[in-house]
């Protein structure tokens, strides 16, 4: 058994070990010197490549960041356009403003149109600023915002007068609600133009309070005015009189000449009554051929004969109708005086009515004051 390597093999092995050591040493020396690559030409080559690599990957990163940015911007644009489209679809003009400084952030086209601006002229400006005066009464702006603030996210309804760019004023109802987005507070306002509605409402109210034929206040409005006048009478210690007037001979005209002639008599009689009293007096039609007259602000020692006679006389004059001249119309008037007759308005009217019937029974064409329920 000769296991030991011979001398030549030993030399060969030693030389191989030395060679490998040299390889390792070269690698180690270079590896350890890479901190300063630019010292040698190869180092410059390598550094440039690595730099180019970095630049390429950085460029790639930038490009993809740019792409992401573009994508985000596009999404943002789309989102904005969608937001605007939804805004524009709202049935009423709408606007979004900052709660902090009242800057308008978005307005619907109808909002801009309503106030007479272009959207671009409104967005970014503060409501109430020189360029954007929305309120006929500037205090209402602060009141509305305070109300929205106080509502704490609940819907607030606010009626006011809006000022348009052309100076016209519109009656509006604002519906506002504050919203919280990303820590910022906004006010979403919906504007409803109620100018027309208000006008129509006033007309309807007038219809419900007046007699369609003569245009005189009906029973409801008459009683309302009577109530007001009673309050005034107490305060001023000046009595008022309530008269109940029924036309005499009216039924005959109606029967003989027809309803149209009857109506014509009623209208004419109403006009004469109004002409016979003061502007502060109220003539009402209670129904049929019955009228009521409110005479407020009379002297304490009131003598009513004169005015009542004047009324009787004016009613008695002939009526020139299309069907011909009509005579024989007269009036029976019962009246009572408040606060001598210290009863509620409705009762005052009943008392006057009772006296009027007493006149009728006594032969018509006269007047009588109510003197209590016992005749």
């Amino acid at each position: 058994m000769h296991n030991d390597p011979n001398a030549n093999e030993l030399v060969a092995l030693q030389s191989e070990v030395a060679r490998l050591k040299k390889v390792v040493a070269a690698l180690v020396a270079r590896a350890e010197n890479t901190s300063d690559l630019t010292d040698s030409d190869f180092g410059v080559f390598q550094a440039t490549l690595l730099l180019e690599d970095q630049v390429r990957s950085r460029t790639q990163e930038l490009r993809s960041a740019l792409h992401r940015l573009e994508t985000t911007n596009r999404a943002l644009d789309e989102s904005n356009a969608l937001f605007q489209a939804i805004f524009d679809l709202m049935p009423n003009p709408v606007a979004l403003s900052s709660m902090q400084d009242a800057t308008l952030l978005k307005v619907s086209r109808s909002f801009a149109d309503f106030f007479g601006y272009r959207p671009a002229e409104m967005v970014g400006k503060r409501t109430g600023s020189e360029q954007l005066k929305f309120w006929s009464d500037p205090d209402q702006r602060a009141q509305y915002r305070a109300a929205a603030e106080a509502a704490m996210g609940e819907t607030v309804r606010f009626e006011g007068k809006a000022l348009r760019r052309d100076g016209s004023v519109a009656q509006v109802v604002l519906t506002g609600r504050t919203i919280n987005v990303c820590g910022k507070r906004f006010l979403m306002t919906d504007v409803r133009d109620v100018t027309e509605e208000a006008r129509r409402g006033a007309h309807l109210r007038s219809l419900s309070e007046h007699d369609a034929l003569t245009g005189l206040p009906n029973r409801r409005l008459f009683l309302e005015r009577l109530n007001q006048a009673m309050t005034q009478a107490r305060q001023n210690a000046s009595p008022l009189a309530v008269c109940y007037l029924d036309l005499d001979g009216f039924k005959e005209v109606n029967d003989r000449l027809g309803h149209q002639a009857g109506d014509d008599v009623l209208v004419e009689a109403a006009n004469r009554l109004v002409a016979a009293v003061r502007g502060s007096d109220t003539v009402g039609r209670l129904g049929g051929d019955e009228f009521a007259i409110l005479l407020p602000g009379l002297p304490a020692s009131g003598n009513f004969d004169e005015i009542l006679r004047r009324i009787l006389n004016t009613v008695r004059r002939p009526y020139a109708l299309k069907a011909g001249s009509v005579d024989g119309i007269g009036a029976s008037i019962g009246f009572t005086v408040y606060p001598d007759d210290d009863v509620p308005a409705q009762t005052l009217l009943e008392h006057a009515d009772q006296s009027m019937y007493a006149v009728k029974r006594a032969g018509k064409n006269h007047f009588r004051r109510f003197r209590g329920n016992t005749p």
Partner: protein
């Protein structure tokens, strides 16, 4: 004429050629260099002169040169680059840069790096001058004279479409060849894996030292691998002492791999197709084809296919001792810039 570029054989009487050029072009800027073969409309030639002019209608050019490359410092390149950029100005169109440098100075890495660093976003391509494979002295023509140990720098701004490119076709094997002794300054590798360089290179390539010749060097060059990419370190010559003369920087501790070609013709055909997609029908392709690529094509008898590709794509250029691309100096590549015919429209 914004600029004249020419590439000529080193066999010309250079002084007389310079006189002729100066007489012909007068004050117009002319830049050129000697070669290891010329490429032009007549195909691939030797002992000839090829060139191109850049019309002032489509180009604004700035050019300068630096002598005494061995002593050059980055600051000089920065100064020259700043001058060029000033000459070219900031008008419409985009810019690219050209570098023609002495092929035996051994300073390409440093100069290419400094030039590209000073250029910033402007892409740079270049080539090392040749001397018809004598490896004695190479010249760059600038400022009316042929100069050795010199580099010419050019910046061109144009409204024509262009595309810079670098094409290579070698992939290294797995075996690591560690440079254990080298003269970095002279780019000489004397030992690989602790053994005489030439013999170890031959062994790794599967041959005996006796079979190591120019053919082997061009067909199975060595590459360095950086971040997974292979870069050829061309062997220019096998020295009598068993050392290897490389065409690019080397130093101890660098790991080399023997590489094989993956098909130059197909890769270049694809390259030209891609270039056409970028610039359309090229008016000209400035091409710097490493002398080893030419030799490889000749040895493996596909040179005519390459030559046809060059002619079909209007390549003007030369066979170089190395190529520069975006700040690096490489070997055994085709590097250059393709220039289109139609103006780039602003609204395109």
């Amino acid at each position: 004429m914004a600029l004249v570029l020419f590439f000529c054989s080193s066999r010309f009487e250079l002084d007389e050629l310079a006189i002729a050029i100066n007489r012909h072009f007068g004050d117009r800027p002319v830049i050129g260099c000697t070669t290891a073969g010329e490429i032009g409309p007549a195909g691939c030639c030797e002992g000839s002169l090829s060139g191109a002019s850049f019309s002032s209608a489509s180009f604004v050019a700035g050019s300068a040169h630096i002598d005494a490359l061995k002593a050059v410092v980055p600051a000089q390149v920065e100064t020259v680059t700043a001058e060029l950029r000033e000459q070219v100005g900031n008008g419409s169109g985009d810019s690219f840069a050209l570098l023609l440098t002495d092929g035996l100075s051994g300073r390409e890495e440093s100069i290419a790096h400094s030039f590209q660093a000073a250029l910033g976003d402007v892409p740079m391509v270049g080539a090392s001058a040749g001397d018809d494979q004598r490896l004695v002295t190479t010249h760059v023509f600038a400022d009316g004279a042929f100069r050795s140990d010199s580099a010419a720098f050019v910046v061109l701004r144009t409204s024509l479409p262009f595309k810079v490119f670098r094409s290579h076709h070698f992939v290294g094997g797995d075996e690591a060849l560690v440079v254990t002794e080298a003269d970095a300054e002279r780019r000489i590798v004397s030992e690989i894996n602790g053994l005489p360089a030439a013999a170890e290179y031959a062994r790794a390539a599967g041959l005996g030292i006796a079979d190591l010749n120019a053919s082997l060097c061009v067909r199975t060059p060595m590459v360095v691998r950086i971040r997974g990419n292979d870069y050829v370190r061309a062997v220019g010559r096998v020295n009598a002492d068993g050392s290897l003369q490389l065409f690019s920087a080397i130093e101890p501790g660098v790991v080399l791999h023997v590489a094989h070609s993956v098909g130059m013709t197909e890769i270049r055909r694809a390259l030209f197709e891609e270039l056409r997609q970028h610039v359309g029908e090229p008016s000209m392709v400035l091409g710097f084809n490493c002398i080893h690529c030419k030799l490889e094509a000749q040895i493996d008898e596909f040179h005519s296919a390459i030559e046809t590709l060059f002619m079909d794509n209007h390549v003007i250029g030369f066979n170089s001792y190395g190529e520069q691309f975006m700040g690096i100096h490489v070997n055994q590549t085709l590097t250059g810039v393709a220039i289109g015919k139609t103006e780039v429209r602003c609204d395109a």
